[in-house]
């Protein structure tokens, strides 16, 4: 089962669109679920995500125009409980321990967060933390050089394989990270 994890598009405020190289990869039919960390910001982006898969989960980011998205969400995919949160609520931004707190609150196996526009994927205390970065490469308050990235999770029983797609020098680079639920 394939799950697409992305966020922080900031379209059209900070960026025009998702890079064309990414768009070519993202074809409908392959992905079953989409987990979006937020800051889309407009409805058009949401509609675009809807065309890729029917099951789209979005949490509210600080620049989202839609006020009705939840702040946090837990989604069960296969055997995994996946937590979704934008990350602007977590202070300091991107701090491991603070994120761990959120994970304990939500009681999830995988925690997905964003806001830093920087890709992260690590295992901490037996739990998996993913930050898909910014799919459009929009600038951050603290950082202007943002590498566009997103993540595909391949969930099979108790194994998750994360494929990270980064756009480096106009070329898509893929990385693979595996996580097993203990």
């Amino acid at each position: 089962m394939l799950v697409l994890v992305l966020g922080d598009l900031h379209i059209p405020h900070r960026c025009n669109s998702v890079p064309s190289r990414f768009k070519k990869l993202l074809v409908p039919g392959k992905i079953q679920h989409i987990l979006c960390t937020g800051n889309l910001c407009t409805k058009e982006s949401f509609d675009y995500l809807k065309t890729l898969a029917s099951d789209v989960h979005v949490v509210r980011g600080d620049f989202d125009e839609n006020m009705n998205y939840p702040e946090q969400k837990v989604v069960t995919v296969g055997q995994f409980r996946i937590g979704l949160c934008h990350g602007h609520q977590v202070v300091p931004w991107g701090d491991n321990e603070s994120l761990a707190m959120v994970q304990r609150q939500l009681d999830v196996d995988i925690l997905i967060s964003g806001h830093t526009h920087k890709f992260e994927a690590f295992e901490h205390e037996g739990k998996f933390y993913i930050n898909p970065g910014s799919a459009s490469g929009a600038y951050n308050a603290l950082d202007s050089n943002v590498v566009p990235s997103f993540v595909i999770l391949d969930i099979q029983q108790s194994t998750v394989v994360a494929y990270v797609y980064k756009l480096l020098n106009d070329d898509v680079k893929v990385e693979r990270i595996e996580y097993r639920k203990c």
Binding site: L2, K24, L25, L26, V27, G29, K30, I152, D154, Q156, V161, Y163, Y165, V172, K173, V174, E175, R176
Partner: protein
Amino acid sequence: METVLGKLRQSTSRITRRASLTGNGAPAVTKDEIIETIDKFIPPVTPESDNNNLKKAGSHDNGSPGSESSSASHAHSYSSEWERLFMRQNYFKKLQEQGMDGNLRSSRFRSVCWKLYLKVLPEEKENWSEHSLVWRKKYEDLKNKLIVNPRKEVEGIDLSLNNPLSQNNESPWNKFFQDNELRLTIKQDVIRTFPELEFFKSEVLREMMIDILFCFSREHYNLSYKQGMHELLAPLIFVLHCDHQAFQHACEIESIQELIKDIMNPSYLEHDAYAMFCQVLETVEPWYMSKDFVISQYRGKDFINAQPFAKCQDLNPSNRIVTKLTRIQDYILKKHDSELHLHLERLEIAPQIYGIRWIRLLFGREFPMQDLLMLWDAIFADGIGFDLVDYLFVSMLLYIRDLLLSSDYATCLSTLMKFPPVPDVHYFIVKSLYLREPNQYPRPPNYTYQTVNKIPGKTRNHKASPNPPEGKRGSTASLPVLEDTTLRQTPSASSLARLETSSLRSYHSSPAGYSPGAISENESLHSSPTKYSTLPNRSGRNRGGKKLTKMQENDIQHHLSYLQGRLNEKETMSRYCSSKLDVHIDRLQSELQQIDMEQNEEIFLALAGIKQVRDVLNGTLKFSQNLLDEDEININDNHYKDDVVIMTPDSDIAMTAEHDNRRELLRKRQKMFYQSSEENSENAESPESFNGVLRPRTEFELDDYEKHSKLRGGNAARGNMSESTISESQTSLSSGNMVDSPNPLYCIESWEEVDG
């Protein structure tokens, strides 16, 4: 012939079964000898070896394997069936015959027979294990290769290739997604396979079918998967499954030899099904090909594919299946039944509409499973080329020809799309064999499907037809002769509802007498189908057994009104003809009277005859023939000597005669006695035969004569005469008996001489 032989074969198999039961250890030669001797003689002979008389085997029909295996004394029946089917000399040929005869219906080794027919297993039994192994391994390898899990750690493949979103053709993920798509397509068809059978609803089975079909389509890239293949696969799996059940059941009861265990291993169901499926598809493959690329060729040129009067099926003759269907319709069907062919062509029912499904699925959706399996026995047994399919197609069409001939476009289509149920499918096999080689096989009786909607009484020309088959029913003459004569005498008995597009003789033969005769004829012909139904036939099918229902009354009404309309038409036509004749007669008459010729007698005779014809057409002279009163007329004395004036049957002619030339006319009329209308002409020659013979066709009636006689005040002789026979009797007397005729009316001849 077919029936007798069929019974013989049944009894043969009975006997061999009994024999095999007794002689389990008996040498095969003895059994063979027995069987061969039996084959030579017509009445079944009890074999000498049936010493033990295992009569407790119960019914020895082909359809009771269960009773045998359940009884303890027949513990080896499974093995013995194996022996009987496969271990004899020339077993393959016998198997083919059995397949054609439909004897495999309850065989427990049907799948093995099919494997042999389809050449999955070779004829030499020694190689069976080897071949099976080869096929099974082949499938296993295929499966492993094709059903790929991209998540398996594949070293050496670049991550940029081996990621889920990769669209590179090399990427295993890409293949995975493409495979998934194909599987989805296949799955959509598989879940709709044989929805009426529970067997095909299990998930495991469906997965198996999807795997098999998927492997096949990946293996044969050019053909890929086409809708319909699942229907071909399904009965194969069904047969294998049934055989495996029997095998497992038998394993519990008796010990099975190794070879059987190997061949019938249930765990290889999928592999065996795949093997058989491949072989079937090898023949069937061209029927599934659709050459779409041909069209693009034409787009380049300025090619207008417009032929005047082209049939719709001819406009794009690029497909093999279309050619095949056209060949079936235009060649085979036309040859055997041009009427139906014309009808279908006129309605513009292209054979592709219904035929593609029939052919591609090997009639899979037209018949219930058991019947279908029997058909497939025959198709496979016939040869790997499936040649019988064409002829089966035609025999199916012939079976419903009556329905088709009497239907319009929509009804025809609905009938063809939803083939009516058939009580005995074996008939099609027999018929198609006959169609293919008319010289080699006896002609089967012409059964057709009769529904309650059909009125058997529509034909008129076979009023006498119930008699011959009735007469011959009891005869023990050889059946083909019987059937042939029946067929010859009742050519339309098999198509009792004919449209006006067909021959009009049925209407011409009885121009009058519809109204009084209609109901009685209906009844008489209603009974005739039931008479036909008692004809001996092999399958015991009751052809005419469908009785009338209430609907039929409505239909009778409908038909009556229809016939009335036709009658009116005919009447108008006759009147028109008579008026035209009148004109011409006047002309001729005037001319002839001018010319005073020597032999004007003949001419005037002829003219009088023509006048009579005109009157008949006009309706002033009615035809009704009551032949029974013939003799009465002949006995009369000559009371008419004095009654000179108008003694003619054609009183109307007398009334309307031209008075200026009465004598001539009278003379004509006298001559007319001898040479009257054509219908009577033959009777004029032979008065004796006329009196004795039952003439089925026309009835002659003299309404006017009766009226006239009443006016005259009743001559005694006239009183004796019934109105119906007078003209007949008068005109029947041969010209030779002019003076000597007992008929008093003929004395007018002398009167003529008197007048000079």
